[in-house]
Symmetry: C2
Subunit: 145 residues, 2 copies
């Protein structure tokens, strides 16, 4: 790429660097997840269900920074694939939680290995220490307070 | 947020931390740009046009990691608002470049100030040195090689 582009005003903005890094990461992640019938948006839903957090749709929407309607669609897709089930929330019977099936757990474990393997690509330019540093900084931005 | 969520497997992934940080940054950026009739996707197009890079649609698509058809829509919107113009590319007359109008330059300067001001919010948890560190790490991920 022409170095003039990298010297452009917008390329100095943290928000732009974040967006472009994320776009590269999304492309690689979606390619890795395709074989499992998953996407970078549905994989975290399945993964959180596998962590036995018994998330509600609202909790998932908050955590994933998506509209509740988008989360409903993601859960519908995972349910249709037999990877998760909706169960009544024991804390609030009007609400539903998302629970992984045993097939969901198997797919999640394999998808997780593929995602971690795929992450090697966009972040390969950083040393293991630098990746840890990046994760620490992003963790504070992603989960303030 | 329940700390169990932050200990979840997916919350350890660099790709997820990047996606969530980006989602927070996008929300703040779009709110800041709304008054200027811009979005986090159209602002970089205008900004690059203002840098006198005379970008082609293809160059913009590569740089912004968008489909060429999405870039066409963004340029159409900016052109309709009188902020940019398409001109023949002097390097290749079959191609067009995007050039900012004087109204575009005025709007871009004001929008830029609003974006930098808005960035204070998601990245306020980091010190100036840590922000510089984050920018350096992301720059290497965003522009490898």
């Amino acid at each position: 790429m022409d170095p003039a582009w990298q010297r452009s005003a917008v390329a100095q903005d943290l928000s732009f660097l974040l967006a472009r890094s994320n776009a590269l990461s999304l492309a690689v992640g979606n390619a890795a997840l395709r074989d499992f019938g998953l996407k970078v948006r549905s994989y975290p839903v399945l993964s959180l269900a596998c962590d036995d957090l018994r998330p509600t749709q609202r909790e998932l929407a908050d955590f994933l920074r998506l509209d509740p309607s988008q989360v409903v669609t993601l859960i519908d897709d995972l349910e249709r694939q037999g990877l998760v089930e909706r169960r009544p929330d024991e804390r609030d019977r009007r609400s539903k939680v998302v629970v992984a099936t045993s097939a969901g757990r198997r797919v999640c474990a394999a998808a997780r290995a593929a995602v971690l393997d795929a992450e090697e690509h966009p972040f390969a330019v950083l040393s293991p220490e630098e990746r840890e540093q990046l994760a620490d900084l992003l963790r504070r931005v992603a989960f303030p307070g």
